[in-house]
């Protein structure tokens, strides 16, 4: 008994002393003003290393020392990102700069989440943006996010050896959806599927790559320009749904995706002969499966009519930096973002090289510099994406996620439960229009001038 009391006493003492110890762990800023930037963790550790090094480099520049401030970088695990950021926002202590993906920015900017970057960065930073990127980030004449990099999807990857095996030309991939199905049929064997299709839980955003192809769309992906109406009961979506259904009913694709859409493993290990992926997929192959790199072929994602040249075949995923709406040092933030992403092209060149040219620049001058860069211009995948995909790629939809989710749900009922395509799309259209009404979305498209 006495031992127990003694233990409690010792515990209390330990607690108190530890508290005393930890209490005096003050941060050391040398009297400088810290300007905080938060970035969630990306799968490629090279992104972290690059960003951390650049922050150090910036803190040693004249701009930072004369301004008597320093950039303080914090990486937050993806799992805790939403909680950490929202708690800080609610507390009024959000970081002054956040690294965000493009899709969420436009709607949030209307709600006052960010400061317009144009007030704090030189105009040349924005005129330098690729035209389609500028369109994506320009909300009524203001930019709320400055691009770091772009990752277009979907791109079709395949195994050349598998193509040869069944008598297909290893240098030419399928161009139309029909051809893609046809190829998958030929490539399908007992121990290998024709093609890897995205996992149902990821369909919501993966489908943006396909939806972006719809040229007859009345406006912006599934909705029209002022977001008053959804139209999905069209020929384009019927054929898309039918193509997906054929893949599943004929078992040309695994009934359950073998891996997450982001992972190229099934293709790399030969479980499938073709796979849809994003530009990041090539990075995984270079890093984890270098021995099969020469066996990997890639083409523009097949389209409805087989015309792939000069067509939009991909959505632009990717990340950039934004200044918080309550930031106390927006000037300094602008200075840093301009230095890092908007100024010297060498910074981003180094980044692209670190990442094995699996991510792409959003600025004309960086593209140009990479064009003159021996390493980059010798990389066939880099050239392929910059020439055939990136110029025509389209921003991800800005509307609420719920719309994309409902679309994916409808597709899942077709592929998994064998529902009729026509009826499903009719119901979906009704559902989406109800949603638009319930959420009062009409006229809220931030891009609609």
């Amino acid at each position: 008994m006495k031992r127990r009391i003694a233990a409690i006493a010792v515990g209390t003492v330990m607690a108190l002393s530890a508290v005393a110890l930890a209490g005096c762990g003050g941060d050391d800023y040398d009297g400088k003003t810290p300007v905080r930037i938060w970035c969630q963790t990306f799968p490629e550790v090279e992104t972290r290393t690059w960003l951390q090094n650049k922050v150090d480099e910036f803190n040693a520049t004249d701009a930072a020392t004369e301004g008597n401030y320093l950039i303080e970088l914090t990486f937050v695990p993806e799992d805790a990102w939403e909680q950490t950021l929202k708690a800080a926002q609610g507390n009024g202590t959000a970081p002054e700069i956040t690294v965000l993906n493009y899709a969420e920015v436009a709607l949030n900017s209307v709600e006052g989440y960010y400061k317009p970057l144009d007030d704090y960065m030189s105009e040349s930073c924005f005129t330098d943006l690729l035209d389609n990127v500028n369109e994506m980030t320009d909300v009524n004449g203001s930019h709320y996010i400055y691009p770091w990099f772009i990752e277009p999807y979907s791109i079709l990857f395949y195994r050349k050896s598998a193509f040869e095996e069944v008598g297909l030309d290893p240098e030419v991939g399928p161009a139309s959806w029909d051809e893609m199905v046809e190829y998958a049929r030929k490539l399908n064997k007992t121990d290998r599927y024709g093609i890897a299709m995205p996992n149902s839980s990821q369909l919501g955003w993966v489908l943006w790559g396909f939806q972006a192809q719809d040229e007859n769309s009345q406006g912006y992906y599934l909705l029209n320009d002022d977001w008053s109406h959804a139209s999905v009961n069209t020929q384009f979506h019927k054929e898309l749904f039918t193509m997906f259904r054929t893949m599943y009913t004929e078992k040309l694709t695994p009934a359950v995706a073998l891996s997450s859409y982001n992972e190229i493993t099934p293709l790399a290990e030969g479980h499938v002969a073709m796979a849809l992926g994003g530009s990041w997929s090539i990075g995984q192959i270079k890093n984890n499966y270098p021995e099969i790199l020469s066996d990997i072929g890639y083409v523009v994602c097949p389209t409805i009519d087989g015309v792939t040249e000069g067509k939009t075949t991909a959505a632009m995923g990717g990340w950039g930096m934004a200044i918080d709406g309550n930031a106390k040092h927006p000037e300094e933030c602008g200075q840093f973002i301009e230095w890092l992403l908007g100024g010297d092209t060498a910074h981003l060149e180094e980044f692209m090289s670190d990442l094995g040219y699996s991510k792409f620049a959003a600025r004309k001058s960086v593209e140009e510099a990479l064009g003159n860069n021996e390493e980059a211009s010798a990389d066939p995948f880099y050239n392929f994406v910059s020439d055939s995909i990136l110029p025509y790629a389209k921003a991800e939809p800005a509307y609420i996620w719920e719309i994309s989710r409902k679309y994916a749900d409808a597709l899942e009922t077709v592929t998994q439960l064998g529902k009729e395509v026509d009826a499903t799309l009719a119901t979906l259209e009704k559902d989406l229009n109800n949603l638009i009404e319930a959420e009062v979305m009409q006229g809220t498209n931030p891009f609609n001038k």
Binding site: M1, V19, V45, V76, Q83, T265
Partner: protein
């Protein structure tokens, strides 16, 4: 003659029963150990092999590189200035302090609810009990607001104090105490022992089993927490918790499974050791509580 037969039958029956129990026991062992063993063995595989879709139990190529990376001082995965080893130590310290406080604070409350009569008992118990049903996400952001107003961010206290009062353990101890016979304390009361004295002399010694069972899970709760530490102590490299670091390996776009499994194995070791040390005291519980 007949008697011998029945005895034989009984012996056979008992032998069959024992054999059956052993069989079930072994199946249990396999079911619970096999996946755990898979984690341990896979932690010696390179990433491509772990991600491989074809199931291999043993690695084609054993590697300790995952562990080496984990303990390397300048791991690229972790925020600067954070070391895995130090965070192991810090997490242990936090969990131990929190555990001791949790046992003391919650069992005292449970004793009051189980054994003492006072005005407002029902109301207070309702106030406590309601918290068992509130999803943690409801209070996550307001709680952050509170600790920030108390100036506790990036401080050891923020890792410990918010989790100390744990109504589930009060409920657990209370259920335990409710089951204890009143005859013991009545005798002690006759002898002039105070109510608090009864808690210390009778209830605490009888709490070994519930303390170990609940203690394991409380300790584990602190040991495994990562969302709360990620929110509150990311500004202090000394305070990073070990599962907060493990979260840096995870990503919906591609998890570093090699590092994740290796670190999972390392963080499980202290828990397994504690478990092995403690399991025999669960037995000892009988000797003490067996007085009744």
């Amino acid at each position: 003659m007949q008697r011998v037969k029945t005895v034989n039958k009984a012996v056979v029956m008992r032998a069959v029963g024992t054999a059956l129990m052993w069989l079930v026991g072994i199946i249990l062992l396999v079911c619970s150990v096999f996946p755990f063993l898979w984690v341990v063995i896979s932690s010696f595989k390179p990433l491509a092999e772990i991600q491989s879709i074809t199931f291999h139990f043993f690695p084609k190529q054993w590697t300790a590189e995952n562990y080496a990376n984990l303990f390397a001082g300048n791991s690229v995965y972790f925020p600067r200035g954070v070391s895995f080893v130090r965070s192991l130590g810090m997490t242990f310290l936090v969990s131990v302090i929190a555990l001791v406080l949790s046992l003391a604070v919650n069992s005292l409350a449970a004793y009051a609810f189980a054994r003492l009569e006072f005005p407002g008992k029902k109301l207070l118990w309702a106030m406590y009990a309601v918290n068992m049903f509130v999803p943690s996400i409801a209070t996550l952001i307001p709680c952050y607001y509170v600790v920030s107003k108390l100036n506790m961010l990036n401080n050891l206290l923020v890792l410990i104090l918010p989790g100390v009062t744990y109504v589930w353990s009060i409920f657990f101890y209370r259920q335990y105490y409710l089951g204890m016979p009143r005859s013991l304390e009545e005798a002690a009361l006759m002898d002039g022992c105070s109510r608090f004295g009864i808690y210390v002399r009778i209830f605490l010694p009888m709490s070994v089993t519930p303390f170990i069972i609940m203690g394991m899970s409380v300790f584990q709760g602190f040991w495994n927490s990562y969302i709360w530490p990620s929110m509150t102590v990311h500004g202090n490299a000394n305070l990073y918790q070990v599962n907060q670091l493990i979260a840096y390996f995870r990503n919906s776009q591609g998890t570093a499974w090699d590092m994740l499994l290796a670190s999972t194995v390392i963080t499980c070791i202290p828990l397994v050791v504690i478990l092995m040390l403690m399991q025999k005291y669960i037995m000892q519980g009988i000797k003490i509580t067996g007085i009744k």
